[in-house]
Amino acid sequence: MSRGKLEKTLGEGKFAVTAEIGPPRGANAEVIRQKAGLLKGCVDAVNVTDNQTAIVRMSSISACAHVVQMGMEPVMQMVTRDRNRIALQSDIMGAYSLGIRNMLCLSGDHQTFGSQPGAMNVFDIDSVHLIHTVKTMRDEGKDMSGYELNVAPRMFIGAAENPFADPFEYRVIRLAKKVAAGVDFIQTQCVYDMVRFKEWMKQARERGLTEKVYILAGVTPLKSARMAKYMASKVAGIMIPEQMIRRMEGAAKETAAAEGIKICLETIQELREIPGLAGIHIMAIEWEEKVAEIVKDAGLYPRP
């Protein structure tokens, strides 16, 4: 069994870099190749989202298969909103057979936010159940019924955590639950509020969790003051400090994006100094072309 590059990098104690792309709303594989191509050499693995915000897109598993064919390493995101345990286990086996080595276990944004809000949701199991399931498939070679699998899918198991959502005092307990269920790595929601993030990391260290799981901090470069204000007020679980919004407002329209990148680089710099942090996860959705620049300017290029 070959370990993926992400697992290997983290296992060797090196600071990891991942990024994220979203599949097209259609059957056009070229979109995947183009987006992933922009990240080649800059990341250890690239997340492929699973019908994110419940908008119907090409499936994550198939888009990941295209990424594998390009010689890059995907992280297959899997939500429990749309598929029951039968379909999820089935896709995990299929994914591994297609050369996919990493997956992220998520519950998923509610379907009422998406492009087909009248759809029935599933939520047969939640993200913690899914982590537990993949771990059992990997380490015991059994599915949820105890059946012995004909080749166990040896996935590197990830999950998400949000240090900025409520209730704050419970967030680290929830992280502990995911670790107990068997998660190998965590990617957090994008960090702007460094004070809160450092507090969360401190609590994670105090519980010994940073010894048991690799934590990658999410970063998203701001494109404009409008984007900053929108995210701060309309997107649940994102906190942006007032002075950061004012900084974006203070920049002229033509230079706002550059200011956003600057803030992003400063954030990465500060994150690298946090003890127990294993890497960063760059979410520059629909701005993938900036990832290479960010990775290089942050001194994280070339990838080990």
């Binding site: 509610h110 939640d126 159940h129 998400a160 959502a165 209730p167 649940a236």
Partner: protein, 222 residues
């Protein structure tokens, strides 16, 4: 109780279009309590239908009757005489009552006048909230008396999700995040560590997903 809402007048009007005489059959239990289909609502609907059609130059004869419950033969048969007299019945009972009347009186058109929504409680005057999905295996004790299946939009057993904000659900800012309530209760009663435990996936066979269900109490059969 079972909570429902009366269908809009326009929808009911469309359903009774073409019938010269109908019976509006109310129910005196759950739908009366949530002001959807009790005696008062039957009277109002009858009047609204007659007046509305009169304004359009049409007419309709509307009989009114309300029985204690439409989910039991003992009460439904009180309506037999009125039902025999019409070709269509608008039942204001919940979906269960509507179907029972339909099966006992197959010769009439059974038209539902209420949208049945959920099993819930009267939170305060005028406010009914959903509490139970009828999953068939109650484990609310694991969650401090708050059911995550019916009250969490994602049925999470290890919530909250990343969208919980200021104690409210990401789906609806008016809805309390069930997991915030569960965590608060656990914290207040010194049981936060209990919430750190893994709860295995649910066996959904006891729910409607396992197929339409029945409860057969042979010890009460006569």
């Amino acid at each position: 109780m079972i909570v429902g809402e009366q269908k809009p007048l326009e929808e009911i009007k469309a359903k009774v279009d073409g019938y010269s005489k109908i019976l509006i059959l109310g129910c005196g239990t759950c739908v009366k309590t949530c002001f959807a289909g009790g005696e008062d609502e039957v009277a109002m609907l009858a009047l609204a239908l007659r007046l509305s059609l009169k304004m359009e130059g049409k007419s309709i004869r509307v009989e009114e009757q309300t029985v204690e419950r439409q989910c039991e033969d003992e009460f439904i048969k009180e309506a037999a005489a009125n039902i025999a007299d019409v070709k269509a019945v608008v039942s204001l009972a919940c979906g269960a009552g509507v179907q029972m009347v339909a099966s006992r009186f197959p010769q009439v058109s059974l038209l539902p006048g209420v949208n049945t929504t959920f099993i819930g409680i009267l939170e305060k005057a005028g406010l009914f909230t959903e509490k139970c999905l009828g999953c068939g295996n109650c484990v609310v004790d694991l969650f401090g008396g708050i059911c995550p299946i019916s009250r969490c939009a994602k049925k999470l057993f290890h919530g909250p999700c990343g969208g919980s904000s200021k104690g409210k659900c990401e789906v609806n800012a008016d809805t309390d995040c069930a997991w915030q309530l569960i965590v608060d209760h656990a914290a207040a009663t010194g049981q936060l560590d209990k919430l750190a435990e893994y709860v295995p996936p649910k066996d959904w066979r006891s729910s409607q997903a396992g197929g339409p269900r029945k409860v057969h109490r042979e010890d009460h059969e006569i």
